[in-house]
């Protein structure tokens, strides 16, 4: 049952990203990439190798639709790899306590913190690979910050309307 929900959310997020959000480009800086929600909210008991492979598949899907050739895959795999570290930093839990965390049930403050850290990392990697140039690092940081805030806002909206209700 969980796997079916995961698969549905995978495709829904890809479609939402490709069909709706990719057509939005606010003032050249706001590129909300909400599909990372899938990686962020993957259950912690998912095997780590599966997490990485799923993240690669998700990014690859976005790349195929956007014709951006691998940058989303790279950034999403990065996020999937760093996800556990962010979660540890946010929750300050170790061992069995950490493994028992259900991300959906985290306090909102910690959830926002964790989400923003992940989204910011993902966007930073994404935009860095996209421009492939450290000279305009300033404008890349600004774009990352603004886009991350915007993505977090949308993600929160989606979270409240779907995942949170279910519990």
């Amino acid at each position: 049952m969980t796997n079916v929900r995961l698969a549905i959310s995978f495709f829904l997020l890809v479609l939402l990203q490709v069909l709706v959000l990719n057509n939005i480009l606010f003032t050249g800086y706001l590129n909300p990439y909400v599909y990372v929600l899938f990686v962020l909210f993957l259950p912690l008991n998912t095997r780590r190798s599966s997490t990485l492979l799923l993240a690669f598949a998700l990014g690859a899907c976005i790349d195929i639709f956007e014709n951006s050739g691998g940058i989303h895959a790279a950034a999403t795999v990065c996020l999937a790899f760093a996800r556990r570290a962010f979660l540890k930093i946010t929750t300050q839990k170790r061992g069995v306590d950490f493994e028992g965390i259900i991300i959906n049930r985290l306090p909102l403050r910690l959830l926002i913190l964790y989400g923003f850290m992940g989204i910011f990392t993902h966007h930073l990697v994404l935009f860095l690979i996209e421009s492939f140039n450290l000279r305009d690092i300033g404008s890349i940081m600004l774009q990352t910050l603004v886009s991350s805030l915007f993505t977090t806002l949308i993600a929160l909206g989606i979270h409240f309307s779907t995942f949170r209700k279910k519990d």
Binding site: R48, S49, L52, L53, A55, F56, G59, D63, N67, S68, G69, G70, I71, A73, A74, V77, C78, A80, F81, I129, F132
Partner: protein, 276 residues
Amino acid sequence: MRKLLAILYSGRIFLLFVVLELMAFVWISNSRSFQRSKVLNSSNQISGRILNQSNEIRSYLHLKEENLRLAKENARLLQLDTNFQLSLDSGTVAVNDSQFEVRYHTLQGQVINSSYLKTRNFMTLNRGVQHGIEPGMGVIASQGVVGRVEHVSQHFCTVTPLINPSFSASGRLKGSRFFGPVKWQNADYRFAHLTDIPRYAQLQKGDTVVTDAGSLLFPPGIHIGYVESYELQEDQNFFEVKLRLATDFSSLGHVYLVSDKMKMELQLLDSLQATP
């Protein structure tokens, strides 16, 4: 071995992460020419710099040949410049240079000895056989007719000038067809006489007398002198014209020796006419 496997197993997630990232980057560099060119650029930077340096050194070694080549090129381009060419357009008619053939050759010479106050005057020039001088060549100066080459040695030649009784030239009134022999008569080196001008010819003081085309010595149109005075000859049918000579024989320096390339041809033709 088991330890190595254990290490690999413990780092399997990181290895998977690295492999996935590598796949993504291969995809990126294959799909984006910009990123690919960036990667290629940075890898070519070192070899490119080395090649550039060696090329600079090589260009220094070939500097001399290059200069020579550029100089030749400059000369070729200068020849194309219209300022370096003589226009063949006379202004009204197009002149085709193949329609003309050079008939007279001129050679510059210097008077090294001359007389002008004697009854038989002579001149010596510093040109001889070595310079291609032959007896019978005409001598002119910038002002007008001088004389005729008489004897030629290896380096010098003597000239019978106009102011010598044995010299005779064919003179023509400029602007008309009247012509006659010009002779000097033991009088003054400044004057000579033109005879056999018909009495119906319209003469004026100051008219110019030039060499005739019938002369085998000089090109036509060379000044001989200017009409000073004229009077009817004894037979009452012709004028005898006193000419002020164009050439100042008292102060001759540079002269030109004229050779007629077609002299032999003309003489041969004339002799054919005379013999039968």
